[in-house]
């Protein structure tokens, strides 16, 4: 029997100003994080609307993580404060519907935190891997 064969597909929405640069830094510093993390660059974490997250799950994501600037550091002053409220409400709702709460996460990663980015992704991938495939928010038509 093979162990750890299952590799979850993770969609990471990264804000252009902090987390995307953080991901870059992780790469420059050769810090490893799973290849199955697909990064989508957004101008600000608050650009991520709940529909994006649900659509990511529909198209086969097993976990969705949103990374933005640390509160107070938003390039647009307050974008990530809105993200914080919106995602708190959404994640709570997903949990209420019985969808594993571990599949969604928000992390604040600055441009200088390459190591944190890699560690976050590794940890998130591990958590999602332990949950297995996303069955509760899957759209069978999108499975190959």
């Amino acid at each position: 029997m093979q162990v750890n064969e299952y590799k979850p597909l993770i969609v990471a929405f990264c804000c252009n100003w902090c987390s995307y640069a953080g991901a870059d830094l992780a790469g420059n510093n050769r810090l490893a994080y799973p290849a199955d993390v697909k990064i989508i660059r957004v101008p600000c974490s608050c650009r991520v609307n709940p529909m994006f997250i649900l659509r990511a799950f529909q198209r086969g994501a097993d976990g969705v993580i949103i990374c933005g600037c640390h509160p107070g550091d938003c390039h647009y002053t307050s974008g990530n404060y809105y993200t914080r409220r919106r995602m708190a409400a959404l994640f709570s709702m997903l949990d209420y519907l019985g969808i594993e709460k571990e599949r969604t996460r928000v992390e604040w990663v600055s441009a200088a935190e390459g190591a944190k980015f890699a560690a976050t992704m590794n940890d998130f991938a591990k958590t999602v891997a332990s949950l297995g495939e996303n069955k509760r928010l899957e759209d069978l038509r999108c499975k190959k």
Partner: protein, 332 residues
């Protein structure tokens, strides 16, 4: 069961029509049976006398109609609002959906409306007449010789069982006494679901939402859903769909619908009232309300005009999305 009678309402409306305060009246029109009342615009006193009805089945929330009807009137439109409707009224005003100057609000007291499906659950099909008699309701059916007497409280609509307020938060004129905001147990059912395991919750919602036929009645009746074009009707949105092809689309629609009105939903209960499949949609909205109250402090949408909704607001000390669940664990 209602404290105010049809005749009182007709005479008030006729008075306002006759003295030129208003040019038409948005009220309840008589149906085929005692329970199928239709929101109707009355233009004359004669129309009011012939077709106006007020009974325990006048549940429809008129506030949303003002968005389309107020603009069409030359003068003011008279609208009869129950306490819960006035919250929606304020919320719509906050969102600048109609002109306050075009509307004349008469607040009417409400003792809770009845749900005909609950009546049918007790009396069966074949209801010929329903009349109110104090705390009781008399139901005449095809199959029973004598009217069946049932306790009005037993057939109270779900949203009225957990009525949150008897207070009118907006009116030009009030019939009856000023009511009070009341302590309700409206979050009990949400808390009961929260206390379940994730698997149980998933099974519960899967079962409920699987009945959805995507008729959009919940959306179209909702006073908070007033977008000119809904994302689910927009062929370019990528999520446009006219029927739930699978359980994902059922969830997608209902999560987004509830999310979009989060912080703006006044908990009027129209979504659950109109659902042909009796899906307890208000439990989704109430979850958001409960969360918002717990996370960011008590907030009642529509309490005043001009309030800033919690999801378009923030403080620097808000809790982190990850902490949502820690709190949940503490509560449990």
């Amino acid at each position: 069961m209602q404290k105010i009678t049809r005749d009182q309402l007709v005479s008030k409306a006729s008075e306002l029509l006759s003295n030129g305060t208003v040019c038409c009246v948005l009220g309840w029109g008589m149906g085929e049976f005692d329970y199928d009342v239709t929101p109707t615009v009355f233009n004359t006193v004669e129309e009011l006398n012939n077709g106006f009805v007020f009974n325990d089945f006048c549940g429809a929330n008129f506030s949303k109609y003002l968005v389309s009807k107020a603009a069409k009137c030359d003068g003011k439109i008279l609208v009869l609002l129950k306490p819960c409707d006035t919250y929606s009224f304020n919320q719509l005003l906050t969102e600048h959906r109609f002109d306050r100057e075009k509307v004349y609000v008469v607040g009417i007291p409400c003792e809770g409306m009845a749900d005909v499906s609950k009546v049918k659950a007790i009396c069966g099909e074949g209801i010929l007449a329903i009349s109110s008699n104090g705390d009781n309701i008399n139901v005449t059916t095809l199959y029973d010789e004598n009217p069946i007497v049932i306790n009005a409280a037993d057939v109270l609509a779900e949203r009225c069982v957990n009525c949150k307020s008897k207070k009118h938060v907006a009116y030009d004129e009030l019939l009856g006494d000023e009511g009070e905001v009341i302590e309700s147990n409206r979050f009990d059912e949400v808390a009961r679901l929260e206390a379940m395991s994730a698997d149980e919750r998933f099974a519960f919602w899967q079962n409920e939402l699987s009945r959805c036929i995507r008729c959009n009645a919940c959306r179209d009746a909702c006073p908070a859903c007033t977008c000119e074009k809904c994302v689910f009707d927009n062929p370019n949105s990528g999520v446009e769909n006219k029927s739930p092809a699978n359980s994902f689309e059922e969830k997608l629609f209902h999560i987004i619908r509830a999310y979009h009105v989060a912080g703006r939903c006044t908990d009027c209960g129209e979504c659950s009232r109109v659902c042909p499949q009796n899906i307890p949609l208000h439990l989704l909205n109430r979850k958001f309300i409960k969360d918002i109250n717990e996370f960011y402090g008590d907030y009642q949408a529509g309490e005043e005009v001009g309030m800033r909704a919690p999801l378009v607001n923030y403080t620097t000390e808000d809790l982190e999305p990850g902490e949502v669940f820690d709190r949940g664990a503490d509560n449990a």
